[in-house]
Amino acid sequence: MGKFGLKQILLAIIVLILLISFPWVFRKPFPQHVMILVFMFGMMAVAWNIMGGYAGMFSFGQVAFFGIGAYTSSFLLITYQVNPWVGLIIGGLIAALVGLAIGYPCSNLRGHYFAIASIAFGEIVRTLFTNWKLIGAAEGLTLPMLDESFKNFIFHSSKLPYYYIMLVFLLLSLLVCYFVATSKMGYYFRAIKESHDVAKVLGINVVWYRLIAIMISAFLTAMAGTFYAQYILYLDPDSVLILPISVQIVLISMLGGAGSILGPVIGAVILMPVSEVTRVMLGHKGTGIDMMIYGALITVISVYQPKGVWGLLTGIAKRLK
């Protein structure tokens, strides 16, 4: 985890300028929508990576945090007229608390046992929400058409504000991940990922640090959930609480490179356009073709480069030096 050189800083500035100018070059809604999804899934993959890539907890239940975020802010807005920005924070906190409550009994589960428990967690939340009358049950929630403003977190005339808000969210989550990776926490997470015994023998409170990882991940994922609700303005269990979303988050992270800061974002940049474009172009021919292309990509990467695209890039960079 070395310091940044001039080259890296320059590259970062160029990428940022490109991202900021993107919606001015591509003015149609579809490319902007795809980029918003890239950012949103990128953020969730970054959040997953803190838990899965660093701390070694392979979660297939991230959709529960996403759904909790989306439902909390929407429910509070509809029922109590709570501002969505406040709802975003409350949703994040509730997701973190739920993560704590679920994570604690799972604190000794490792590897595939944790993965299975996390699938169950996601499915429990989906079933619960599908039957919970207060929050719309299977019919879901429709958000009120408030006036367009940043304060209301709602925009009708253009996707631009959503684009920039989601970009800022993504950058924020990268900042959090950078802080985690380069701090004491990051080292401890990686020790826990290696083995609980090695962590304990270094004086690491394994249960506590795992819970911290879950809570950070849950909070960020819930933020993406609130964003999604404000962006689509409608949510039901079938759109925000289904297992394929969790799977997609894991695939994006793995493809991009779990355990690196930027890997998951690269994964989103590659997979989300593939997913959206194939869905739009081939979707009407029966669902599944997009998932097949997906599967093929994942297979190729995991066979030839288990460290993901990020591992591929850093490998090439090393050879060029």
Binding site: T182, S183, K184, Y187, Y188, R190, A191, E194, S195, D197, V198, A199, K200, V201, L202, G203, I204, N205, V206, G259
Partner: protein, 245 residues
């Protein structure tokens, strides 16, 4: 006032179902001593290690470290109190560099990574791994892995260091290096408890030797006394006293 004993193991028993892995084991360690625990395979040495370091809790009996009862504490809390250990099957973080491994250990005493890195460099210079600090844990030889594991233990800044077979499977040259390292660690005032099969090393470095057989302590004494004891020789029946020479 009499100062409490450094480490005191009182009638420790560990049962796994019907198996008695440790039975009423008593012994003490004074500050600055090197005490070796020997015994044939399955004698209960590693179980005893686990009972002292919090990886197991004794079924009955107590362990006192500097006067406080640690027999019910968690492993990480015991490490924080100043007992570090290594494992029989060497445990390092395989996708971290040597330096990162030791930094992770040093972070027990520091919050800032920069400060822990300074400490880690210092430890690596002491253990002679500094020139390999960029190598990944997974790429090291067994000897270097064991050396790294000792470095990690030292970086947690313990007052009691417990080594579980740190010399098994080493070549003669590597063995010499490890013995020298242990002597060097001791000269800094460290107290050591070691489980070891390599009798050559045990004879050379131990102040006292404790012999376990079938979960019980059968003998305790200075190395010379122990190797001449009939019961000990019987316990090792078939095994030569010096496994190396």
């Amino acid at each position: 006032m009499k100062s409490p004993l450094f480490l005191e193991v009182q009638r420790v028993t560990k049962r796994f179902g019907g198996l008695l892995a440790n039975e009423n084991i008593d012994f003490t360690v004074k500050e600055g001593e090197i005490v070796s625990i020997i015994g044939p395979n399955g004698a209960g040495k590693t179980t005893l290690f686990n009972c002292i370091t919090g990886f197991y809790h004794p079924s009955s009996g107590k362990v006192f470290f500097r006067g406080s009862d640690i027999s019910r504490r968690r492993a990480d809390a015991i490490c924080k109190m100043g007992i570090a250990r290594t494992f029989q099957i060497v445990q390092v973080i395989s996708d971290m560099t040597v330096l990162e491994n030791v930094v992770t250990a040093a972070l027990l005493r520091y919050t800032k990574v920069a400060r822990a890195t300074e400490k880690a460099e210092e430890v690596l210079a002491f253990t002679g791994l500094l020139e390999k600090e960029e190598a990944l844990g997974i790429d090291l030889t067994i000897a270097d892995k064991k050396r790294l594991e000792v470095s990690m233990a030292l970086a947690t800044q313990p007052t009691l260091l417990m080594l579980d077979e740190s010399m098994a499977g080493l070549t003669r040259v590597e063995l010499r290096g490890m013995i020298d390292l242990i002597k060097k660690i001791r000269s800094k005032g460290m107290t050591l408890v070691i489980v070891e099969h390599v009798m050559e090393a045990v004879m050379e470095i131990s102040d006292r030797v404790i012999v376990l057989n079938s979960g019980k302590k059968i003998m305790e004494g200075v190395p010379q006394e122990v190797v001449q004891n009939k019961e000990v020789i019987q316990a090792y029946l078939g095994e030569k006293y010096s496994a190396v020479s």
